[in-house]
Protein backbone atom coordinates (compact mmCIF):
# COMPACT_ATOMS: atom_id res chain seq x y z
CA UNK A 1 0.00 0.00 0.00
CA UNK A 2 1.33 3.41 -0.92
CA UNK A 3 -0.10 6.43 0.81
CA UNK A 4 0.47 10.00 -0.32
CA UNK A 5 0.79 12.98 2.00
CA UNK A 6 -0.31 16.28 0.45
CA UNK A 7 0.61 19.66 1.88
CA UNK A 8 -2.40 21.97 2.14
CA UNK A 9 -1.43 25.63 2.28
CA UNK A 10 -4.02 27.93 3.78
CA UNK A 11 -4.36 31.63 4.42
CA UNK A 12 -7.04 33.66 6.12
CA UNK A 13 -9.35 30.70 6.53
CA UNK A 14 -9.10 29.36 3.00
CA UNK A 15 -7.21 26.48 1.48
CA UNK A 16 -5.00 27.53 -1.44
CA UNK A 17 -6.51 26.63 -4.82
CA UNK A 18 -3.33 24.87 -5.91
CA UNK A 19 -3.32 22.81 -2.74
CA UNK A 20 -6.88 21.72 -3.51
CA UNK A 21 -5.59 20.67 -6.93
CA UNK A 22 -2.77 18.73 -5.29
CA UNK A 23 -5.20 16.97 -2.91
CA UNK A 24 -7.39 15.97 -5.88
CA UNK A 25 -4.37 14.72 -7.81
CA UNK A 26 -3.06 12.89 -4.73
CA UNK A 27 -6.41 11.17 -4.29
CA UNK A 28 -6.46 10.08 -7.93
CA UNK A 29 -2.92 8.68 -7.75
CA UNK A 30 -3.42 7.03 -4.36
CA UNK A 31 -6.49 5.24 -5.67
CA UNK A 32 -4.42 3.87 -8.54
CA UNK A 33 -1.69 2.82 -6.14
CA UNK A 34 -4.23 1.16 -3.86
CA UNK A 35 -3.61 3.59 -1.02
CA UNK A 36 -4.99 6.80 0.44
CA UNK A 37 -4.24 10.49 0.13
CA UNK A 38 -3.99 12.44 3.37
CA UNK A 39 -3.59 16.17 3.75
CA UNK A 40 -1.42 18.03 6.23
CA UNK A 41 -2.09 21.55 7.46
CA UNK A 42 0.27 23.57 9.61
CA UNK A 43 -0.73 26.63 11.56
CA UNK A 44 -2.45 27.85 14.64
CA UNK A 45 -5.37 29.02 12.51
CA UNK A 46 -5.96 25.55 11.09
CA UNK A 47 -8.91 23.75 12.60
CA UNK A 48 -11.56 21.15 11.92
CA UNK A 49 -13.71 23.46 9.77
CA UNK A 50 -10.80 24.07 7.40
CA UNK A 51 -9.42 20.52 7.32
CA UNK A 52 -12.58 18.42 7.25
CA UNK A 53 -13.90 19.68 3.89
CA UNK A 54 -10.68 18.43 2.21
CA UNK A 55 -12.52 15.12 2.19
CA UNK A 56 -14.60 16.44 -0.69
CA UNK A 57 -11.42 16.64 -2.76
CA UNK A 58 -10.49 13.08 -1.90
CA UNK A 59 -8.42 13.31 1.30
CA UNK A 60 -9.34 10.42 3.59
CA UNK A 61 -7.57 12.00 6.53
CA UNK A 62 -6.44 15.52 7.37
CA UNK A 63 -3.57 15.99 9.81
CA UNK A 64 -3.26 19.28 11.64
CA UNK A 65 -0.03 20.44 13.24
CA UNK A 66 0.23 23.72 15.09
CA UNK A 67 3.09 26.06 14.26
CA UNK A 68 4.03 29.36 12.65
CA UNK A 69 2.41 30.08 9.27
CA UNK A 70 3.95 31.24 6.03
CA UNK A 71 7.41 29.76 6.65
CA UNK A 72 8.75 26.55 5.14
CA UNK A 73 10.98 25.00 7.76
CA UNK A 74 8.34 24.38 10.45
CA UNK A 75 6.33 22.51 7.80
CA UNK A 76 9.40 20.42 6.95
CA UNK A 77 9.55 19.39 10.62
CA UNK A 78 5.86 18.49 10.72
CA UNK A 79 5.85 16.63 7.41
CA UNK A 80 9.05 14.71 8.18
CA UNK A 81 7.50 13.51 11.43
CA UNK A 82 4.21 12.59 9.75
CA UNK A 83 5.99 10.70 6.96
CA UNK A 84 8.25 8.80 9.34
CA UNK A 85 5.38 7.87 11.64
CA UNK A 86 2.83 7.24 8.90
CA UNK A 87 5.04 5.42 6.38
CA UNK A 88 4.00 7.59 3.43
CA UNK A 89 5.68 6.75 0.13
CA UNK A 90 5.16 10.13 -1.49
CA UNK A 91 4.75 13.78 -0.58
CA UNK A 92 2.90 16.04 -3.00
CA UNK A 93 2.77 19.83 -3.33
CA UNK A 94 0.77 22.16 -5.56
CA UNK A 95 2.61 25.03 -7.24
CA UNK A 96 3.82 27.98 -5.24
CA UNK A 97 6.83 29.33 -3.44
CA UNK A 98 6.40 27.57 -0.10
CA UNK A 99 5.84 24.21 -1.77
CA UNK A 100 9.23 24.50 -3.44
CA UNK A 101 10.97 25.38 -0.19
CA UNK A 102 9.21 22.74 1.89
CA UNK A 103 9.62 20.00 -0.71
CA UNK A 104 13.33 20.70 -1.09
CA UNK A 105 13.94 20.89 2.66
CA UNK A 106 12.03 17.65 3.12
CA UNK A 107 14.11 15.95 0.42
CA UNK A 108 17.26 16.90 2.30
CA UNK A 109 15.84 15.80 5.65
CA UNK A 110 14.59 12.42 4.43
CA UNK A 111 17.23 11.68 1.81
CA UNK A 112 14.38 11.63 -0.70
CA UNK A 113 14.38 12.31 -4.41
CA UNK A 114 12.55 15.48 -5.42
CA UNK A 115 11.13 16.71 -8.74
CA UNK A 116 9.79 20.21 -9.17
CA UNK A 117 7.68 22.02 -11.81
CA UNK A 118 5.82 18.77 -12.42
CA UNK A 119 3.01 19.01 -14.97
CA UNK A 120 1.84 15.42 -14.90
CA UNK A 121 2.16 12.27 -12.79
CA UNK A 122 1.38 8.72 -13.84
CA UNK A 123 1.46 5.33 -12.20
CA UNK A 124 3.65 2.61 -13.63
CA UNK A 125 4.15 -0.76 -11.96
CA UNK A 126 2.87 0.53 -8.66
CA UNK A 127 5.16 3.58 -8.64
CA UNK A 128 4.78 7.24 -9.50
CA UNK A 129 6.51 8.67 -12.54
CA UNK A 130 6.70 12.48 -12.61
CA UNK A 131 6.78 14.54 -15.80
CA UNK A 132 8.76 17.73 -15.74
CA UNK A 133 9.15 20.17 -18.63
CA UNK A 134 12.76 21.27 -19.05
CA UNK A 135 14.79 23.72 -21.13
CA UNK A 136 12.12 26.37 -21.35
CA UNK A 137 9.40 23.77 -21.90
CA UNK A 138 11.00 22.51 -25.11
CA UNK A 139 11.12 18.96 -23.77
CA UNK A 140 9.49 16.91 -21.04
CA UNK A 141 11.54 14.59 -18.88
CA UNK A 142 10.19 11.62 -17.00
CA UNK A 143 11.57 10.96 -13.56
CA UNK A 144 11.23 7.92 -11.30
CA UNK A 145 12.19 7.68 -7.66
CA UNK A 146 14.84 5.37 -6.32
CA UNK A 147 14.53 6.61 -2.77
CA UNK A 148 12.14 5.20 -0.14
CA UNK A 149 10.18 8.46 -0.29
CA UNK A 150 9.51 10.47 -3.46
CA UNK A 151 8.66 14.17 -3.43
CA UNK A 152 6.61 15.75 -6.20
CA UNK A 153 6.25 19.53 -6.45
CA UNK A 154 3.66 20.51 -9.04
CA UNK A 155 3.76 23.46 -11.36
CA UNK A 156 1.22 26.18 -10.67
CA UNK A 157 -2.22 25.23 -12.00
CA UNK A 158 -0.97 21.81 -13.14
CA UNK A 159 -3.42 19.90 -10.97
CA UNK A 160 -7.10 20.64 -11.17
CA UNK A 161 -9.18 20.85 -8.00
CA UNK A 162 -11.99 18.32 -8.33
CA UNK A 163 -14.69 17.61 -5.82
CA UNK A 164 -15.32 13.89 -5.74
CA UNK A 165 -18.39 14.19 -3.58
CA UNK A 166 -16.99 12.20 -0.68
CA UNK A 167 -17.70 13.22 2.91
CA UNK A 168 -15.49 15.02 5.43
CA UNK A 169 -11.92 13.89 6.03
CA UNK A 170 -11.12 12.39 9.42
CA UNK A 171 -9.27 15.14 11.23
CA UNK A 172 -6.37 14.24 13.46
CA UNK A 173 -4.04 16.55 15.38
CA UNK A 174 -0.38 15.59 15.36
CA UNK A 175 2.59 16.60 17.51
CA UNK A 176 6.07 17.22 16.28
CA UNK A 177 9.14 18.99 17.48
CA UNK A 178 10.11 22.30 15.96
CA UNK A 179 13.80 22.04 15.07
CA UNK A 180 16.22 24.67 16.34
CA UNK A 181 16.88 26.17 12.91
CA UNK A 182 13.17 26.41 12.11
CA UNK A 183 12.88 28.74 15.09
CA UNK A 184 15.49 31.14 13.74
CA UNK A 185 13.12 32.76 11.26
CA UNK A 186 10.04 34.72 12.30
CA UNK A 187 7.33 36.30 10.21
CA UNK A 188 7.22 40.05 10.81
CA UNK A 189 4.53 40.92 8.31
CA UNK A 190 2.72 38.61 5.89
CA UNK A 191 0.80 39.16 2.69
CA UNK A 192 1.41 42.88 2.31
CA UNK A 193 -0.40 44.23 -0.77
CA UNK A 194 1.83 46.78 -2.44
CA UNK A 195 0.19 49.38 -4.64
CA UNK A 196 -3.44 49.96 -5.49
CA UNK A 197 -6.05 47.24 -5.25
CA UNK A 198 -6.92 46.73 -8.90
CA UNK A 199 -9.24 44.04 -10.21
CA UNK A 200 -8.07 42.14 -13.27
CA UNK A 201 -9.64 38.74 -12.79
CA UNK A 202 -12.97 39.51 -14.44
CA UNK A 203 -11.51 41.28 -17.49
CA UNK A 204 -12.18 39.99 -21.02
CA UNK A 205 -9.19 41.81 -22.41
CA UNK A 206 -5.89 42.18 -20.58
CA UNK A 207 -3.04 44.37 -21.74
CA UNK A 208 0.02 43.27 -19.77
CA UNK A 209 3.32 45.09 -19.48
CA UNK A 210 6.80 43.95 -18.49
CA UNK A 211 10.32 45.23 -18.10
CA UNK A 212 10.36 46.07 -21.80
CA UNK A 213 8.21 49.13 -21.01
CA UNK A 214 11.49 50.63 -19.84
CA UNK A 215 10.19 52.79 -17.00
CA UNK A 216 7.15 53.06 -14.70
CA UNK A 217 5.62 55.67 -17.00
CA UNK A 218 5.69 53.08 -19.77
CA UNK A 219 2.52 51.61 -18.28
CA UNK A 220 0.64 54.59 -19.68
CA UNK A 221 0.96 52.89 -23.08
CA UNK A 222 -0.80 49.81 -21.71
CA UNK A 223 -3.46 51.86 -19.97
CA UNK A 224 -4.20 53.84 -23.13
CA UNK A 225 -4.52 50.67 -25.16
CA UNK A 226 -6.80 49.04 -22.56
CA UNK A 227 -8.94 52.18 -22.52
CA UNK A 228 -9.15 52.10 -26.31
CA UNK A 229 -10.53 48.57 -26.19
CA UNK A 230 -13.10 49.95 -23.77
CA UNK A 231 -15.55 47.87 -21.79
CA UNK A 232 -14.08 45.10 -19.83
CA UNK A 233 -10.34 45.66 -20.36
CA UNK A 234 -7.66 45.81 -17.66
CA UNK A 235 -3.90 46.25 -17.32
CA UNK A 236 -1.65 43.59 -15.76
CA UNK A 237 2.07 43.18 -15.05
CA UNK A 238 5.00 40.80 -14.54
CA UNK A 239 6.77 40.25 -11.25
CA UNK A 240 9.86 42.02 -12.54
CA UNK A 241 8.03 45.33 -12.76
CA UNK A 242 5.92 44.78 -9.64
CA UNK A 243 9.04 44.08 -7.59
CA UNK A 244 10.52 47.25 -9.07
CA UNK A 245 7.50 49.21 -7.84
CA UNK A 246 6.25 50.19 -11.32
CA UNK A 247 2.81 48.64 -10.95
CA UNK A 248 0.59 47.27 -8.14
CA UNK A 249 1.03 43.72 -6.90
CA UNK A 250 -2.71 43.12 -7.32
CA UNK A 251 -2.18 43.28 -11.09
CA UNK A 252 0.60 40.69 -11.19
CA UNK A 253 0.12 37.58 -13.29
CA UNK A 254 1.97 34.35 -12.59
CA UNK A 255 3.26 31.93 -10.03
CA UNK A 256 3.08 34.30 -7.08
CA UNK A 257 0.38 36.45 -8.61
CA UNK A 258 -2.96 35.90 -10.30
CA UNK A 259 -4.07 33.33 -12.82
CA UNK A 260 -6.22 34.69 -15.64
CA UNK A 261 -7.79 33.37 -18.83
CA UNK A 262 -9.28 36.36 -20.68
CA UNK A 263 -10.49 36.33 -24.28
CA UNK A 264 -7.43 38.35 -25.25
CA UNK A 265 -4.08 38.70 -23.50
CA UNK A 266 -1.77 41.22 -25.09
CA UNK A 267 1.76 41.13 -23.68
CA UNK A 268 4.01 44.14 -24.30
CA UNK A 269 7.70 43.88 -23.37
CA UNK A 270 7.28 40.56 -21.59
CA UNK A 271 9.79 37.75 -22.13
CA UNK A 272 7.39 34.94 -21.25
CA UNK A 273 9.26 33.29 -18.35
CA UNK A 274 7.68 30.04 -17.11
CA UNK A 275 6.54 31.71 -13.89
CA UNK A 276 4.62 34.26 -15.91
CA UNK A 277 3.33 31.78 -18.47
CA UNK A 278 1.69 29.58 -15.81
CA UNK A 279 -0.63 32.43 -14.90
CA UNK A 280 -1.86 33.31 -18.41
CA UNK A 281 -1.30 30.41 -20.79
CA UNK A 282 -4.95 29.41 -20.81
CA UNK A 283 -5.99 32.79 -22.24
CA UNK A 284 -8.08 32.27 -25.37
CA UNK A 285 -5.93 34.48 -27.60
CA UNK A 286 -2.39 35.65 -26.86
CA UNK A 287 -0.66 38.49 -28.69
CA UNK A 288 2.97 39.30 -27.87
CA UNK A 289 4.96 42.37 -28.80
CA UNK A 290 8.66 41.94 -28.13
CA UNK A 291 11.75 43.24 -29.88
CA UNK A 292 13.70 40.02 -29.28
CA UNK A 293 12.67 37.36 -31.79
CA UNK A 294 14.12 34.70 -29.45
CA UNK A 295 11.89 35.67 -26.50
CA UNK A 296 10.22 32.56 -25.05
CA UNK A 297 6.79 34.17 -25.34
CA UNK A 298 6.93 33.68 -29.13
CA UNK A 299 6.86 29.93 -28.46
CA UNK A 300 3.35 30.05 -27.05
CA UNK A 301 1.59 33.15 -28.36
CA UNK A 302 -0.98 33.03 -31.15
CA UNK A 303 0.17 36.24 -32.79
CA UNK A 304 3.70 37.49 -32.26
CA UNK A 305 4.97 40.91 -33.30
CA UNK A 306 8.73 41.28 -33.39
CA UNK A 307 9.33 44.96 -32.93
CA UNK A 308 9.61 47.97 -30.63
CA UNK A 309 6.55 48.40 -28.44
CA UNK A 310 7.16 52.14 -28.24
CA UNK A 311 6.48 52.37 -31.96
CA UNK A 312 3.73 49.79 -32.20
CA UNK A 313 1.53 50.24 -29.12
CA UNK A 314 0.64 53.97 -29.60
CA UNK A 315 -0.33 53.36 -33.22
CA UNK A 316 -2.30 50.27 -32.26
CA UNK A 317 -4.13 52.32 -29.64
CA UNK A 318 -5.07 54.94 -32.23
CA UNK A 319 -6.19 52.29 -34.70
CA UNK A 320 -8.32 50.46 -32.12
CA UNK A 321 -9.90 53.76 -31.08
CA UNK A 322 -10.63 54.67 -34.69
CA UNK A 323 -12.11 51.29 -35.48
CA UNK A 324 -14.33 51.28 -32.42
CA UNK A 325 -15.42 54.87 -33.04
CA UNK A 326 -16.35 54.06 -36.61
Amino acid sequence: MSNILVYALHYEGQINKNSLGAVSEGARLAAELGGEAHALLVGDQAGEELAGPLGAYGAKKALIASGPEGLAQPVVDAMAKAITDGGYKYALFGGGLLGFEIGAGLAARLGAGVVMEVTGVRVQEGKLIAQRPILGDSAISEIEFRSPVGIVIGRLNAFEAKESGAGAAAVQRIDYELSAHAQQATMVKRGEQRGADVDIEGADIIVAGGRGLGKPEGFQLCEDLAAAFGGNAAVAATRAVVDAGWYPYAAQIGQTGKTVSPKLYLAAGISGAIQHKVGMQSSENIIAINKDSNAPIFEFCDLGIVGDLNKIVPKLTEAVKARRGA
Binding site: A104, G105, L135, S141, E192, V242, G304, G307
Partner: protein, 262 residues
Protein backbone atom coordinates in the same frame (compact mmCIF):
# COMPACT_ATOMS: atom_id res chain seq x y z
CA UNK B 1 30.87 38.51 8.91
CA UNK B 2 31.96 35.84 6.49
CA UNK B 3 29.83 35.35 3.39
CA UNK B 4 29.90 32.42 0.98
CA UNK B 5 28.25 32.92 -2.40
CA UNK B 6 27.22 29.88 -4.43
CA UNK B 7 27.82 30.34 -8.12
CA UNK B 8 27.27 28.08 -11.08
CA UNK B 9 28.56 27.78 -14.60
CA UNK B 10 25.70 27.60 -17.11
CA UNK B 11 25.42 27.48 -20.90
CA UNK B 12 25.41 30.97 -22.33
CA UNK B 13 21.89 32.29 -22.90
CA UNK B 14 22.63 32.57 -26.61
CA UNK B 15 23.46 28.87 -26.85
CA UNK B 16 20.61 26.54 -27.59
CA UNK B 17 20.37 24.27 -24.57
CA UNK B 18 19.78 20.63 -25.27
CA UNK B 19 19.63 17.26 -23.62
CA UNK B 20 21.95 14.43 -24.50
CA UNK B 21 19.39 11.77 -25.51
CA UNK B 22 21.68 8.97 -24.32
CA UNK B 23 22.01 10.11 -20.71
CA UNK B 24 19.18 12.58 -20.18
CA UNK B 25 21.75 15.04 -18.88
CA UNK B 26 22.34 18.53 -20.16
CA UNK B 27 24.68 18.73 -23.11
CA UNK B 28 27.35 20.93 -21.57
CA UNK B 29 29.37 21.65 -24.68
CA UNK B 30 29.41 25.16 -26.13
CA UNK B 31 29.91 28.61 -24.61
CA UNK B 32 29.45 28.93 -20.86
CA UNK B 33 29.07 31.73 -18.46
CA UNK B 34 28.47 32.64 -14.83
CA UNK B 35 24.76 32.08 -14.10
CA UNK B 36 23.38 35.63 -14.46
CA UNK B 37 21.16 35.21 -11.38
CA UNK B 38 24.27 34.58 -9.26
CA UNK B 39 25.69 38.01 -10.07
CA UNK B 40 22.86 39.41 -7.93
CA UNK B 41 24.03 37.26 -5.01
CA UNK B 42 27.61 38.51 -5.35
CA UNK B 43 26.36 42.08 -5.61
CA UNK B 44 24.26 41.59 -2.48
CA UNK B 45 27.38 40.46 -0.60
CA UNK B 46 29.29 43.51 -1.87
CA UNK B 47 26.51 45.85 -0.79
CA UNK B 48 26.53 44.38 2.73
CA UNK B 49 30.26 45.05 2.87
CA UNK B 50 29.96 48.54 1.42
CA UNK B 51 26.96 49.28 3.65
CA UNK B 52 29.21 49.33 6.70
CA UNK B 53 28.84 45.82 8.10
CA UNK B 54 32.35 44.45 8.57
CA UNK B 55 32.73 41.58 6.11
CA UNK B 56 36.04 39.78 6.53
CA UNK B 57 35.65 37.59 3.54
CA UNK B 58 33.45 36.86 0.53
CA UNK B 59 34.10 33.37 -0.81
CA UNK B 60 32.68 32.11 -4.11
CA UNK B 61 31.93 28.39 -4.13
CA UNK B 62 31.06 26.22 -7.09
CA UNK B 63 30.63 22.57 -7.90
CA UNK B 64 31.22 21.78 -11.53
CA UNK B 65 33.55 20.56 -14.27
CA UNK B 66 37.06 21.93 -14.89
CA UNK B 67 35.74 24.70 -17.09
CA UNK B 68 33.84 26.13 -14.11
CA UNK B 69 37.10 27.73 -13.00
CA UNK B 70 36.36 30.59 -15.39
CA UNK B 71 33.11 31.20 -13.61
CA UNK B 72 35.01 31.56 -10.34
CA UNK B 73 37.35 34.10 -11.96
CA UNK B 74 34.30 36.04 -13.02
CA UNK B 75 32.85 35.85 -9.50
CA UNK B 76 36.13 37.14 -8.08
CA UNK B 77 36.23 39.98 -10.60
CA UNK B 78 32.79 41.00 -9.32
CA UNK B 79 34.01 41.17 -5.73
CA UNK B 80 34.68 37.78 -4.13
CA UNK B 81 38.01 37.61 -2.27
CA UNK B 82 38.76 33.97 -3.07
CA UNK B 83 37.04 30.91 -4.41
CA UNK B 84 36.56 27.19 -3.90
CA UNK B 85 35.98 24.72 -6.72
CA UNK B 86 34.65 21.23 -6.04
CA UNK B 87 35.57 19.29 -9.11
CA UNK B 88 35.21 15.54 -9.33
CA UNK B 89 33.85 13.18 -11.98
CA UNK B 90 32.06 11.30 -9.21
CA UNK B 91 29.72 14.28 -8.81
CA UNK B 92 28.45 14.25 -12.39
CA UNK B 93 24.73 13.67 -12.75
CA UNK B 94 23.90 14.58 -9.14
CA UNK B 95 20.29 15.69 -8.71
CA UNK B 96 19.26 18.76 -6.71
CA UNK B 97 19.27 16.92 -3.40
CA UNK B 98 22.73 15.45 -4.02
CA UNK B 99 24.13 18.77 -5.31
CA UNK B 100 22.78 20.59 -2.27
CA UNK B 101 24.30 17.98 0.03
CA UNK B 102 27.72 18.26 -1.65
CA UNK B 103 27.68 22.07 -1.48
CA UNK B 104 26.64 21.92 2.17
CA UNK B 105 29.62 19.71 2.98
CA UNK B 106 32.01 22.30 1.57
CA UNK B 107 30.19 25.14 3.31
CA UNK B 108 30.39 23.30 6.61
CA UNK B 109 34.18 23.51 6.33
CA UNK B 110 34.01 27.24 5.61
CA UNK B 111 31.49 27.96 8.41
CA UNK B 112 30.12 31.20 6.98
CA UNK B 113 27.71 33.54 8.77
CA UNK B 114 25.74 33.96 5.58
CA UNK B 115 25.34 31.84 2.46
CA UNK B 116 23.95 33.67 -0.59
CA UNK B 117 22.63 32.08 -3.78
CA UNK B 118 20.91 33.14 -6.97
CA UNK B 119 17.15 32.66 -7.36
CA UNK B 120 17.61 29.98 -10.02
CA UNK B 121 20.18 28.47 -12.29
CA UNK B 122 19.64 29.32 -15.93
CA UNK B 123 19.91 25.67 -16.97
CA UNK B 124 18.71 23.56 -14.04
CA UNK B 125 15.93 25.90 -12.92
CA UNK B 126 15.19 24.12 -9.68
CA UNK B 127 14.85 27.19 -7.41
CA UNK B 128 15.60 24.89 -4.53
CA UNK B 129 19.32 24.40 -3.90
CA UNK B 130 19.15 26.99 -1.11
CA UNK B 131 16.50 25.10 0.84
CA UNK B 132 18.46 21.84 0.51
CA UNK B 133 21.73 23.43 1.60
CA UNK B 134 20.04 25.11 4.57
CA UNK B 135 18.51 21.88 5.78
CA UNK B 136 21.87 20.11 5.73
CA UNK B 137 23.54 23.00 7.53
CA UNK B 138 20.57 23.29 9.90
CA UNK B 139 20.29 26.97 9.18
CA UNK B 140 17.20 29.10 8.62
CA UNK B 141 16.56 29.95 4.99
CA UNK B 142 14.44 31.99 2.61
CA UNK B 143 14.34 32.12 -1.17
CA UNK B 144 13.45 34.92 -3.62
CA UNK B 145 14.53 37.68 -1.25
CA UNK B 146 14.40 41.14 -2.86
CA UNK B 147 15.37 43.30 0.13
CA UNK B 148 17.78 42.40 2.87
CA UNK B 149 18.93 44.57 5.79
CA UNK B 150 21.52 43.48 8.32
CA UNK B 151 20.42 44.10 11.89
CA UNK B 152 23.26 42.98 14.21
CA UNK B 153 22.89 39.18 14.38
CA UNK B 154 19.89 38.95 12.07
CA UNK B 155 18.61 39.87 8.63
CA UNK B 156 15.35 41.57 7.86
CA UNK B 157 14.24 40.14 4.54
CA UNK B 158 11.41 40.93 2.17
CA UNK B 159 10.10 38.73 -0.58
CA UNK B 160 7.00 38.07 -2.57
CA UNK B 161 5.20 34.85 -1.68
CA UNK B 162 1.78 33.42 -2.53
CA UNK B 163 -0.29 36.11 -0.84
CA UNK B 164 1.74 39.28 -1.27
CA UNK B 165 4.96 40.60 0.23
CA UNK B 166 6.30 38.97 3.40
CA UNK B 167 8.81 40.49 5.80
CA UNK B 168 10.76 37.87 7.71
CA UNK B 169 13.42 38.25 10.40
CA UNK B 170 16.12 35.62 9.97
CA UNK B 171 18.86 34.98 12.56
CA UNK B 172 22.38 34.43 11.33
CA UNK B 173 23.92 32.12 10.26
CA UNK B 174 21.44 31.74 7.41
CA UNK B 175 21.05 30.70 3.78
CA UNK B 176 19.38 33.27 1.53
CA UNK B 177 18.55 33.01 -2.18
CA UNK B 178 18.14 36.46 -3.66
CA UNK B 179 15.65 37.42 -6.36
CA UNK B 180 16.85 39.34 -9.39
CA UNK B 181 15.03 42.50 -8.28
CA UNK B 182 17.30 42.87 -5.22
CA UNK B 183 19.95 44.94 -6.99
CA UNK B 184 21.57 45.94 -10.25
CA UNK B 185 24.86 44.00 -10.45
CA UNK B 186 27.93 46.09 -11.26
CA UNK B 187 30.22 45.51 -14.17
CA UNK B 188 33.71 44.36 -13.21
CA UNK B 189 36.49 46.87 -13.71
CA UNK B 190 39.28 46.01 -16.11
CA UNK B 191 41.67 45.91 -13.16
CA UNK B 192 39.41 43.46 -11.33
CA UNK B 193 39.21 41.24 -14.40
CA UNK B 194 42.99 41.26 -14.78
CA UNK B 195 43.54 40.57 -11.08
CA UNK B 196 40.98 37.80 -10.75
CA UNK B 197 43.32 34.98 -11.68
CA UNK B 198 45.73 35.99 -8.96
CA UNK B 199 43.24 35.59 -6.14
CA UNK B 200 43.38 32.28 -4.24
CA UNK B 201 41.42 29.46 -5.86
CA UNK B 202 41.21 26.18 -4.05
CA UNK B 203 40.30 23.08 -5.97
CA UNK B 204 38.93 20.14 -3.99
CA UNK B 205 38.03 16.60 -4.93
CA UNK B 206 34.84 15.22 -3.46
CA UNK B 207 36.77 13.30 -0.81
CA UNK B 208 38.81 16.38 0.13
CA UNK B 209 35.58 18.32 0.56
CA UNK B 210 34.27 15.68 2.95
CA UNK B 211 31.60 14.47 0.54
CA UNK B 212 30.33 10.91 1.01
CA UNK B 213 30.51 9.43 -2.49
CA UNK B 214 27.60 7.13 -1.72
CA UNK B 215 25.34 10.19 -1.61
CA UNK B 216 26.26 11.88 -4.88
CA UNK B 217 26.41 11.24 -8.63
CA UNK B 218 23.74 10.08 -11.03
CA UNK B 219 23.43 6.54 -9.68
CA UNK B 220 22.94 7.60 -6.08
CA UNK B 221 20.41 10.31 -6.82
CA UNK B 222 16.91 9.64 -5.56
CA UNK B 223 15.25 11.29 -8.54
CA UNK B 224 16.17 9.34 -11.62
CA UNK B 225 15.69 10.37 -15.22
CA UNK B 226 14.12 7.64 -17.37
CA UNK B 227 12.96 9.33 -20.56
CA UNK B 228 12.69 12.59 -22.43
CA UNK B 229 9.89 13.37 -24.85
CA UNK B 230 8.65 16.26 -26.95
CA UNK B 231 6.01 18.50 -25.36
CA UNK B 232 2.41 18.34 -26.59
CA UNK B 233 2.32 20.08 -29.94
CA UNK B 234 0.56 23.39 -30.11
CA UNK B 235 0.21 24.87 -33.59
CA UNK B 236 2.82 27.61 -33.88
CA UNK B 237 1.53 31.16 -33.70
CA UNK B 238 1.72 33.64 -36.56
CA UNK B 239 4.79 35.86 -36.40
CA UNK B 240 4.98 39.35 -37.92
CA UNK B 241 8.27 41.23 -38.19
CA UNK B 242 7.49 44.89 -37.73
CA UNK B 243 8.91 46.79 -40.70
CA UNK B 244 6.19 49.23 -41.65
CA UNK B 245 4.35 49.87 -38.38
CA UNK B 246 1.15 51.10 -40.07
CA UNK B 247 0.99 47.85 -41.96
CA UNK B 248 1.74 45.84 -38.79
CA UNK B 249 -1.08 47.58 -36.95
CA UNK B 250 -3.49 46.87 -39.85
CA UNK B 251 -2.56 43.19 -39.63
CA UNK B 252 -3.13 43.11 -35.87
CA UNK B 253 -6.50 44.77 -36.31
CA UNK B 254 -7.54 42.32 -39.01
CA UNK B 255 -6.47 39.45 -36.75
CA UNK B 256 -8.53 40.87 -33.87
CA UNK B 257 -11.57 41.40 -36.06
CA UNK B 258 -11.41 37.91 -37.47
CA UNK B 259 -11.65 36.61 -33.90
CA UNK B 260 -14.34 39.13 -32.95
CA UNK B 261 -12.11 40.60 -30.29
CA UNK B 262 -12.86 44.14 -31.30
Amino acid sequence: MKICVLVKEVPDAAVEKRIDPATGRMDRSGEKNLNPYDTHAIEAAMQIREGGTPVEEIVAVTMGPESAERTLHKAVSLGADRSVHICDDALAGSDVAATGYALAQVLRGESPDLVLLGQQSDDGECYTIGAVVAEHLRMPSLTQVIKMDVESDALRCERQAEYGYDTVAVKLPAVISVGDAINEPRYPSLKAIMGAKKKPLQRLSAAEAGIDLAKVGGESSGAHWIAVMPPPQKPPGEIIEDEDTNETVEKILAWLEQRKLI
